[in-house]
Amino acid sequence: MFDRLSDGFNGVFKKLSGQGSISESNVREAMDEVRTALLEADVQYDVVETFCERVMADAVGREVTKSLKPGQEMIGIVNRRLVELLGGDPDADPQEALTQSGPGILKMSPGPTVVMMCGLQGSGKTTTCGKLAAMLKKQGRSVMLCAADLQRPAAVEQLETVAGQADQLPGGAQVRFYGEADQVGAYGERVGVAVDVCKRALKAAREAGVDVLILDTAGRLHVNDELMGELHSVHKVLNPHHIFLVVDAMTGQDAVNSAKAFHERLEVDGVILTKFDSDTRGGAALSVKHVTGAPIRYIGVGEKLDAIEPFHAERMAGRILGMGDVVSLVEKAQQEVTEEEAEKLQAKMAKGELTMDDFLKQMRSLRRMGPMKQLMGMLPGVGSMLKDIDIDEKQLDRTEAMVQSMTPAERAKPDLIKGKRQKRIAQGSGNEQTQVGQLVKQFGLLNKMTKQMSGMSGSARVAAAKQLAGGGMGGMMSGMPGLGTKGSTKSGSRGVKKRKPKKRR
């Protein structure tokens, strides 16, 4: 999602590395590109200015201009500052920082731990309540979700359903629901009542011995005094241990104003950013962190209740810098492919015996992980190239359709697919015969290539992939898994994805 930011930074570094000696004004000029990239990513103007000033000061202080590798050095500086701005510790061991998942939700005794959600309309509060409940349940902690939104039509029913869904998920504890549907009066007339509902929910939670009570409040504008007052009362009366501000990752420049207003009123102690599964450049993450100072605790990456992840400043910064979010990708891949499957596949690839069935399966699990473009964006160095690449998911659909129209025998031995068979498959899948021919041909090439590559060492493999990429490999991939490219190549992708999960284990 930060692909544009990466572009900006890469531009800077290319500029720096392309020149013999570099002056301060070069750095300054290059920083302009960073500035633009950040602004285009919706990072708030002041935040951008502050960030760029710090980076400039660092660059001058470190005498980047005299450095042999100014580009590298700048990446280091920008990365440090970015990690810092996102709330991470730039001095932390990167490996360690990645495996840490930050502080969880406090455990109070006597319970319950009270968590209050707040945010603008539609930011994702109710869904996130369910996600937190599911997460806690998994940890064996019991949860009660309280419907404190008496404003929006069917908000109580929504939370009740969500609580029920969370309770169905695995874990050693119960997810309960507390709501007073009869308190939902005429729309807009019930502002004060929410506080009472919360009070009674706390009582119920105590009696039931629930570990964590989560209050789902109504969405509201930070400029609505009456409703902000209501939140304030809930805060005063219930004294929550955590107050999470839920922010849509697609928010624009105004993110600072709303976050600031919520923070001033409630002292937000954590931020949850939602809808990170979109292609937003997500500058709001930087802005909100900057104005509230509260840590970004979790990110929402989908509508389902398991689509929540701890926030990692290092990862995010790495992604911004075009280093790719390989860790996320590996995690996603691990969810899709079992170790055993990966082993088998590896062996087949080494012998060049991949079948169309393997291919179809791979492609499907790959696509289940997310839109292809988003996945590619997580790969190192690929993010910045994506701009010119048109990944046609429809082409992927067509490729899938072609494979599906093949008989089991054909899938196992694609060489069989000639003349008549090609025609039949083309007709069955609604494609041209030549497209089928191409697919088969390219599949053959893929098998040959994976066989060759599996015999090489890591570095030789990379070199080979590069060579292949240079010489027509790009064209091949463009038709192969249906990745229609408009120019450059991103050949390593499939290979990387398949190999990585193994490496990590």
Binding site: T36, L39, E40, A41, D42, Q44, Y45, L120, Q121, G122, S123, G124, T126, Q151, R152, P153, A154, A155, E157, Q158, L159, E160, T161, V162, Q165, Y187, G188, L221, V223, D248, M250, T251, G252, Q253, D254, A255, N257, S258, K275, D277, S278, D279, T280, R281, G283, A284, E303, P371, K373, Q374, E393, K394, D397
Partner: protein, 307 residues
């Protein structure tokens, strides 16, 4: 067929915040000042802060700079006039009213990403259409989100409008199918279909919209007559990507910009304008069914640059 004669007063009220921050800010930034490079820089900043976008802001500032260099503009007040003229010229004369079927029910399909305000905007449209004397039927094609059907039903109950619904988790296209048949059988004027929020990057779900469209066209040839994309006015530049993608897969014919009362700076309207020719047809300025206004660029620009 102008639906909703422009209720300017209301729009101004809805834009109070916009005027305060963007308009007021621009005005206080510019009035009584002599134009120089610093002021141009401040102007650019102000525009970016209002979500106009980097490109849009720079284009506007460049146009001022050109006039400045040519000696045509010397003061901040002249800049205000220039901006007003410039911005207004960005919006062509365009029909921004709803498109209706020539005969039989008009089908309006409402789409957008998660949480932008689709369902609420539908309630607002219902009210406006009903107040015009048209009969309306609703189809609850959001079978995915918890409580979504109930939410629409509650709006229906409040407004006295029936809702055709299906199974929770069922096929939205089949709800569309049933709703179309019901609309024909009952001879209603307008059928509005609510859909589940989906990210424009989710190809599968975008395909589902195409399917819904096909089903509508089969039952009510020529439909949907209007495909409205709801965008959130507080969103940043990603709104442009949404417009692009939804236009490509769902054939969007108009935009509803919700939550304009929330955003402090309506600049995203300008950004949308420079990126797409899909007309913004309505703006949402609150959470009640009355809080919908037709989009009027002249009035909007005036509000943006007002006192």
């Amino acid at each position: 067929m102008a639906l909703f004669k422009s209720a300017l007063g209301k729009l101004k009220k809805g834009l109070a915040r916009t005027r305060e921050t963007l308009g007021g800010g621009l005005r206080s930034l510019l009035t009584g000042k002599r134009l120089d490079e610093q002021l141009l820089k401040d102007l650019e900043r102000r525009l970016i802060e209002s979500d106009v976008g980097v490109a849009g802001a720079r284009e506007l500032v460049e146009s001022v700079r050109t006039d400045y260099k040519a000696g045509n503009i010397e003061t901040g007040d002249q800049v205000l006039d220039h901006l007003k003229r410039q911005l207004k010229s960005w919006w062509p004369e365009q029909d921004r009213s709803l498109t209706f079927a020539t005969s039989g029910p008009t089908v309006i399909l409402v789409t957008g990403i998660n949480g932008v305000g689709k369902t609420t905007s539908i309630a607002k449209l219902c009210k406006a259409l009903r107040d015009e004397g048209r009969t309306v039927l609703l189809g609850a094609c959001d079978t995915f989100r918890a409580g979504a059907v109930r939410q629409l039903e509650i709006w229906g109950e409040r407004l006295g409008i029936d809702v055709v619904k299906g199974q929770q988790g069922g096929d939205p296209a089949s709800v569309a199918f049933d709703a179309c048949d019901a609309a024909v059988a009952r001879q209603v004027d307008v059928l509005i279909l609510d859909t589940a929020g989906r990210l424009h990057t989710q190809q599968g779900l975008m395909g589902q919209l195409e399917k819904i469209r096909r089903v509508i066209d089969k039952r009510i040839p020529g439909g949907p007559h209007e495909v409205l994309l709801v965008l959130d006015a507080t969103s940043g530049q990603n709104a442009l990507r949404q417009a692009e993608e939804f236009k490509a897969s769902a054939g969007v014919s108009g935009i509803v910009l919700a939550k304009l009362d929330g955003t402090a700076r309506g600049g995203i309207v300008v950004a949308i304008r420079s990126a797409t020719d899909i007309p913004v047809k309505f703006v949402g300025v609150g959470e009640t069914p009355d809080d919908l206004e037709p989009f009027d660029p002249e009035a909007f620009v005036e509000a943006m640059l007002a006192e």
